[in-house]
C-alpha cells in the first residue's frame, strides 16, 4: 500500500506498543516511530491524537488515529489484508482469540503491575494471580506451536510483549515463570526467533531499570 503515511506514537517499554510494532513488522509496513516520554511529560500531540485516554500506543494512518493496541492490531489486519493474516479466518477461532486477548488485557496486565507496585500480602496475591493466568494461557496453547496454531497470530502478538516485563515481575515477585510454565517459555523462545518479535520487544534488563526509576520517582521503594 504505497504512499500511505503510518506513524506509531509509542513508548519504548510499553507492551501494548510492542503489539502494534510486531503487527506492522509482520505485514512489512514502513512507519515512523514517534517516542512519547511517558516518564516526564505527555506531549500536546498525544493529547490531540488520543483525547479520550491520552495513552499510547496510537496508530496514525493518513492522519487518522486508531487507539487501543488490540483495536489497532485488528485495523492493521483489515487494511493490509494481502500478507501475513493475523486473525484466524474461522469466526469461532477469531472469537477465541478475541476472548483471550481481552483476558490478557484485564488480568495479566493488572496482576503484573501490582507485583512491582506493591509489597507484602498484596504483592503475594498478585504473584499468585499472575501465575494462575499464565497457567490458563499455557493450557490454551496446549501443544500447538503458536496460539494461532501453525502460524503466529493475534493472540501470540497480544501476549509475547509481556516477555519484556517477565524479568521485572520475577525479580520483584521472587519467582520463576519458567519453573511454573515451561511450555509458555518454550513458546516465547519460538516467537523470539521471528525478527518481527525480536526487533519489537524491549530489553528486559532495561525495563527493570526503568521500573527502579519509576519506583523511586513515585516513592514506591
Amino acid at each position: 500500500m504505497g504512499g500511505s503515511e503510518v506513524i506509531l506514537l509509542d513508548f519504548w517499554a510499553s507492551m501494548f506498543g510492542m503489539r502494534v510494532r510486531i503487527a506492522l513488522a509482520e505485514k512489512g509496513i514502513e512507519y515512523e516511530f514517534k517516542e512519547e516520554d511517558l516518564v516526564n511529560n505527555r506531549s500536546p500531540f498525544l493529547s490531540k491524537m488520543n483525547p479520550v485516554h491520552k495513552k499510547i500506543p496510537v496508530l496514525i494512518h493518513n492522519g487518522k488515529p486508531v487507539c487501543e493496541s488490540l483495536i489497532a492490531v485488528q485495523y492493521i489486519d483489515e487494511v493490509w489484508k494481502g500478507k501475513a493474516p493475523l486473525l484466524p479466518s474461522d469466526p469461532y477461532q477469531r472469537a477465541q482469540a478475541r476472548f483471550w486477548g481481552d483476558f490478557i488485557d484485564k488480568k495479566v496486565y493488572d496482576h503484573g503491575a501490582k507485583i512491582w507496585k506493591t509489597k507484602g500480602a498484596e504483592q503475594e496475591e498478585s504473584k499468585k494471580g499472575l501465575i494462575e493466568c499464565l497457567k490458563l494461557l499455557e493450557g490454551e496453547l496446549g501443544d500447538k506451536p503458536y496460539f494461532g496454531g501453525e502460524s503466529f497470530g493475534y493472540l501470540d502478538i497480544a501476549l509475547v510483549p509481556f516477555y519484556s516485563w517477565l524479568y521485572t515481575y520475577e525479580t520483584f515477585g521472587k519467582f520463576s515463570v519458567e519453573a511454573e510454565c515451561p511450555t509458555l517459555i518454550g513458546w516465547v523462545k519460538r516467537c523470539m526467533d521471528k525478527e518481527s518479535v525480536s526487533k519489537s520487544l524491549a530489553d528486559p534488563l532495561k525495563v527493570h531499570d526503568l521500573v527502579l526509576l519509576l519506583k523511586k520517582k513515585h516513592g514506591l521503594e
Partner: protein
C-alpha cells in the same frame, strides 16, 4: 443456522446486548435464564474462566464476553450488519464500545447504584457521558442511520439508567445536560426489536426498587 443458545439473565444489560444482535439478524435461539446465586453446571462448563453470563453457544461451541459474542454474531450471520465495512469506522466502533464497557459502565453503576450519594462519582460519570454526547453530534445513532454495535453496547444508558433515575431521583442523564443522548435513547427504544429484547419496564422497576432497598448506598 445451527443450534443457538444464550445463557443469560433477562434483567442484565450485558445479556440483552446478545439478544438484540440475534434478533436484529433474525436468528432463532433458546434462552436459558441463569440464577446467578446458583449457577448451572452447564454455564460453569461453558465459561470456566469467568463463570459469567452471557454465554452464546452455537452448535455446542461456547463464546463468552458480550463484546466478543457481538463480533462473532456479526461475522457468522451476514444480514443486517452491526459493524460498518470501512476498517477505520470499524476501529472507531470498537473503540467506543470498549470505552462504554470499561469506563462508562463502572462509573455509571457507581454513581447510579453503588455509591448513589457520592457527588464526586456523579460528576465523574457526567464527564464520561459528555464524551458520548459529543460523539452523537449530528447522528441519529452511534452507528449512523441504523442501530450498530455501539448503540447495542450502550443499552444500559438507553434504558436502565432512565429507570434507575426514576426510582432514585438521580438527575444525571437529563435533557438539559445531554440532549443528544436523551434523543438517542428515545430513538433506540422506538425500535421494536430493542423493546422485545428488554424486560418490560414494570418488571425492571420492581427489580430495581427491591435491589436498592436491600443494598443501601455506600
Amino acid at each position: 443456522m445451527g443450534e443457538v443458545k444464550v445463557f443469560g439473565v433477562r434483567r442484565s444489560p450485558y445479556s440483552c446486548r446478545v439478544e438484540i444482535a440475534l434478533k436484529l439478524k433474525g436468528i432463532k435461539y433458546d434462552f436459558i435464564e441463569e440464577d446467578l446465586s446458583n449457577k448451572s453446571p452447564l454455564l460453569l462448563k461453558y465459561n470456566p474462566v469467568h463463570k459469567k453470563i452471557p454465554v452464546l453457544v452455537h452448535n455446542e461451541n461456547p463464546i463468552a464476553e458480550s463484546l466478543v459474542i457481538l463480533e462473532y454474531i456479526e461475522e457468522t450471520w451476514k444480514g443486517t450488519p452491526i459493524l460498518p465495512e470501512d476498517p477505520y469506522q470499524r476501529a472507531m466502533a470498537r473503540f467506543w464500545s470498549k470505552f462504554i464497557d470499561e469506563k462508562c459502565m463502572p462509573a455509571l453503576l457507581k454513581a447510579a447504584v453503588k455509591e448513589r450519594e457520592n457527588k464526586k462519582a456523579i460528576e465523574e460519570a457526567a464527564e464520561l457521558l459528555k464524551i458520548l454526547e459529543n460523539e452523537l453530534e449530528g447522528k441519529k445513532f452511534f452507528g449512523g442511520d441504523n442501530i450498530g454495535l455501539v448503540d447495542i453496547v450502550a443499552d444500559f444508558i438507553g434504558y436502565w439508567l432512565g429507570l434507575i433515575q426514576h426510582v432514585t431521583g438521580l438527575e444525571l442523564l437529563t435533557k438539559e445536560k445531554f440532549p443528544n443522548l436523551c434523543e438517542w435513547s428515545h430513538e433506540f427504544l422506538s425500535s421494536s426489536i430493542v423493546k422485545e429484547s428488554f424486560p418490560p419496564s414494570d418488571h425492571l422497576l420492581e427489580y430495581i426498587r427491591s435491589w436498592l432497598s436491600a443494598n443501601p448506598s455506600k
